[in-house]
């Protein structure tokens, strides 16, 4: 199987897109397998989600039922934003600690596959934490009952919201990991860029809780934001992570040195 994927004849056998997707899948499975072994990211993110949930419950328990549909969407997506920043901060740490990001970059793997794999892993962890938050909010606030009444819509909404966050966040988390940058900058970059998708998710959640027909429109707009985030993220991943090859400039410099 690996010969078919990585070997010289791989591109002849399947199209480039399919190879990239299968490489992404293998990388994601590998990351998830490593995560399943030590559970570091899963446990810390879940614990953090629970702490945020308890703080939200304590702060807003006195909120009237009529005001809750306005507050619950904010609670959900702020929690996703915080957990997302934590997850993205850690998603490349293992690569940085063992210097495997460089190994990954020189391996015969499409760069877009690395991006898709990391985004997928982020999304899976974020989705798990978000579903936990949704469950907690449903138990704590009576106005969040539509989450339980319309599980498919809720799942679609949470998946779309987490996907957009992972799409944008993975690009910049990777960039910071490769530039040995300060992690505080991740939050500086992440929140303004993910705000449009979080805002769409917020209004879609409100319309879901209030039973408005506009829910599907907002979900469609959120999906469009996701597509845009992933297309731009995949397009920018290689230039942001490693820059462009500078053969010509390097050669000119070398020639000048020889002279």
């Amino acid at each position: 199987m690996s010969e078919a994927l990585w070997g010289p004849g791989a591109r002849a056998k399947t199209s480039l897109d399919m190879v990239a997707l299968r490489q992404a899948w293998l990388l994601a499975v590998n990351d998830l397998r490593q995560e399943a072994r030590d559970l570091e990211l899963i446990l810390t993110s879940t614990f953090f989600s629970l702490v945020v949930l308890i703080m939200l419950g304590m702060s807003f328990s006195a909120l009237g039922v009529s005001s809750q549909p306005l507050a619950v969407p904010g609670m959900l997506w702020l929690s996703v934003a915080f957990v997302g920043a934590l997850t993205l901060g850690r998603i490349f740490t293992r690569e940085r600690e063992f210097d495997t990001l460089r190994a990954l970059l020189v391996a015969p793997v499409e760069r877009v596959s690395i991006y898709l794999a990391k985004a997928f892993v982020t999304m899976v962890i974020l989705l798990g934490c978000s579903l936990l938050t949704v469950l907690g909010l449903t138990l704590l606030f009576p106005a969040a009952q539509p989450f339980a009444d319309r599980p498919l819509e809720t799942f679609a909404l949470v998946t779309m919201g987490c996907t957009a966050y992972a799409g944008v966040g993975t690009l910049f988390a990777a960039g910071l990991a490769s530039s040995s940058g300060k992690n505080v900058l991740l939050s500086v970059i992440l929140y303004p860029l993910t705000m449009p998708s979080l805002l769409f998710a917020l209004v879609a959640t409100r319309s879901l809780l209030e039973g408005h027909e506009s829910f599907t429109t907002y979900l469609g707009q959120l999906t469009a934001t996701n597509v845009l985030a992933f297309v731009v993220g995949a397009w920018l991943f290689e230039p942001v992570l490693v820059g462009v090859p500078q053969k010509r400039r390097g050669a000119a410099r070398a020639a000048r040195r020889r002279r």
Binding site: L176, L185, V188, L193, P239, V240, V244, Q246
Partner: protein
């Protein structure tokens, strides 16, 4: 010629600006519904147009920087981003003043207000990453600038896509000639000032790069000398 151009532009802007202010406050009729506060329109709209133009310039030059590793494009990107912050601040100050007088509320969370605020935040993040980021973060900042430029069409079409309290894009086309006569000089003066500052800042940034390279080559030469001596 290149050295004089920005200062010539600043000089022309300095000549036009007082005339523009006098036209706005003394010659243009006072709007019946909004009163004198409507005069802020002549500063708010040109600043918003210039902010969007500079955001696009920043995004495009960041794209060129990423594709070709061009120092000139990087300098343009830095200068444009800083000016987006300045003009954006102008837009975000004049807008709520006008909104408070017209809608009775300075900030209504209107789609255009939110997307403009987001644009400002993205470019503020760009400037922070440029200043405090480690080596290699210039590519990260370029990625941010591209996302920022994508926000420009969102700002423009926000009033068409969503229900907003903001006036529609067609308002500019339906303005009477007397208002255009006051809007043009304000736009030209502010645009010339912004472009002059852009040119000056680009030159500063390129000088900075040249100095850096000179410093590195001096350092390299210093490091190479003892080795040659030993040999």
């Amino acid at each position: 010629m290149k050295n004089i151009l920005p200062f010539a532009m600043l000089g022309v802007a300095a000549l036009i600006f007082p005339t523009s202010v006098s036209t706005i406050f003394l010659e243009t009729p006072i709007e019946q519904q909004m009163g004198t506060v409507q005069k802020i329109f002549y500063f708010h709209v040109p600043l918003a147009w210039i902010m969007m133009l500079l955001a696009v310039v920043c995004g495009v030059s960041a794209g060129i920087q990423l594709r070709r590793d061009s120092k000139r494009a990087e300098a343009v990107s830095i200068a444009a981003a800083e000016l987006v912050l300045v003009t954006g601040l102008g837009v975000l100050i004049t807008g709520p003043i006008w909104g408070h007088a017209t809608w009775g509320k300075a900030w209504t969370w209107d789609a255009r207000q939110v997307s403009t605020g987001l644009l400002w935040l993205v470019f503020a993040a760009y400037v922070l990453v440029r200043h405090y980021g480690a080596a290699g973060s210039e590519r990260l900042a370029a990625g941010l600038a591209i996302f920022g430029a994508i926000d420009v069409p969102v700002i423009y079409y926000a009033v068409k896509i969503w229900k907003t309290t903001h006036p529609s894009n067609d308002v500019a086309g339906s303005l009477p000639a007397s208002m255009w006569a006051a809007l043009w000089p304000a736009l030209i003066a502010l645009l010339l000032t912004s472009l002059a500052l852009l040119f000056i800042r680009v030159r500063q940034e390129l000088t900075d790069v040249t100095l850096d390279e000179a410093w590195i080559s001096l350092d390299d030469a210093g490091a190479a000398q003892p080795a040659t001596g030993d040999a």
